[in-house]
Symmetry: C2
Subunit: 277 residues, 2 copies
Amino acid sequence: MSLFEADTAVQPTGNGCFAASVTDRWDGLAGRPLGGYVLAIALRALREVMPVPDLLVASAFFLNPVGPGPVQLRTELTRVGGRTATGQVRLHQNDAEALRAMATFSTSSLSGGQNLMLGSNPDLPPPDKAIEMHEGGVRPTAPIADRVEYRLGAREEPPTPGSRPATSLVWMRLTEGGGDDLFAIPFLVDAAPPAVMKLGATTSTTIELSLHVRAKPNSEWFASRATTSYVIDGYHDEDFELWDASGRLVAQSRQLARLPKSEPIAIGDVGDRLTPS
Amino acid sequence: MSLFEADTAVQPTGNGCFAASVTDRWDGLAGRPLGGYVLAIALRALREVMPVPDLLVASAFFLNPVGPGPVQLRTELTRVGGRTATGQVRLHQNDAEALRAMATFSTSSLSGGQNLMLGSNPDLPPPDKAIEMHEGGVRPTAPIADRVEYRLGAREEPPTPGSRPATSLVWMRLTEGGGDDLFAIPFLVDAAPPAVMKLGATTSTTIELSLHVRAKPNSEWFASRATTSYVIDGYHDEDFELWDASGRLVAQSRQLARLPKSEPIAIGDVGDRLTPS
């Protein structure tokens, strides 16, 4: 069992309820457990009550911050259809609901539909030719930097207004394994440096995250593409794609997040800030 | 009161519950009320129990088909924060839950955050220079074609694999007014011809739709950009942007939807199929 699997394990407590322990091993730069890590725990609990095993699409609302410690999960099997099932999970900590997610599960044994890829995988050199993100700089002390290895391609040009979105291309790998775990996906789509870092932001608070799982992960390394197109009144989108090393699209996600009011963002030469500090 | 407002009105029945009537005036090409129309009813009910008025982000799961007729709505105020509030709404018809949505509302009186536009509005000629979608062809008999006027720019080249996503640019206008209604947004993001029509599909079933409202609508005409990037095993994404006539981004949405297995899709000269038939 990988560390990720152990740290997202859930124990049934009856009536569709589960207990889990949020560890401090997946804290991000903000000093709190990454939202995607907490979501992975919630969706793993929900999967326990689903008649089909494969996460297909999920949406999560982050209601209150979650810290390390015990959490309680209440699941609900909402609807069973022909090839899919949909349910809801609520995660509580200290008597407050901290996260609510709804998700549809499916089963790959019913596959056989059509395929057409009109986008393309992130333009990154192979992992062994890519540059370790913190090479030549200061590696952040956040636990996430121990749990995930990040590698970049060549440095990108800073974005110009109106020309293109702020895009960040990064290879990611769970340093202690577990990347073939379906429930690593909700974590991985939230674990790359946010594209708004390219605009000078150092933190951002997710309100809602939606996730489409497009294939089962079967890779150690994942190539990611994070894109922010519009910051309006402090709120920004982040689109995210996760591809495996063989060039298969594994997942897409989209977040609506909020920047702190106090922190100015800018278009310009902010390449140095790509390295979280 | 616009026809849209009247047809999405909700009546309180106590304890956070509401009644509404789904009309057959907003049926799409599939012969059923558009999912976005039903979602607008659900979110209007949810708004009634929110302490702040402005829809900010929503996610909806479409659980069962909805037909014309009465529906019941159960709302829940889940969390009230500093400048936002989050709740959930369940829509039932004939004793089956047909739609469940969660949404965060805010208030524009707390605006003042940062702005940075890195994408751009759809490249369409002004509405009065654009081409009526059904000009020279057969106008579909679906009620949606009476409720919404669609105008296109110049005919686009069909997409090529790997080169770019399937993108559809369309002006939209509610023919009987009501485009300045915040709750027209959930309808409008679902009312344009799906981008997969450019690949030859004539129908597609939405599983989940997430929606970010980025500005209050203040326009008669809206420019839209629908993009499908990946069809995998019959499932496809659809990203959608809605801009007002002055070039302001009003909303973004993303769907995960499923194509029928029987219907082949293709890259090629499918321009004729852009007009729903």
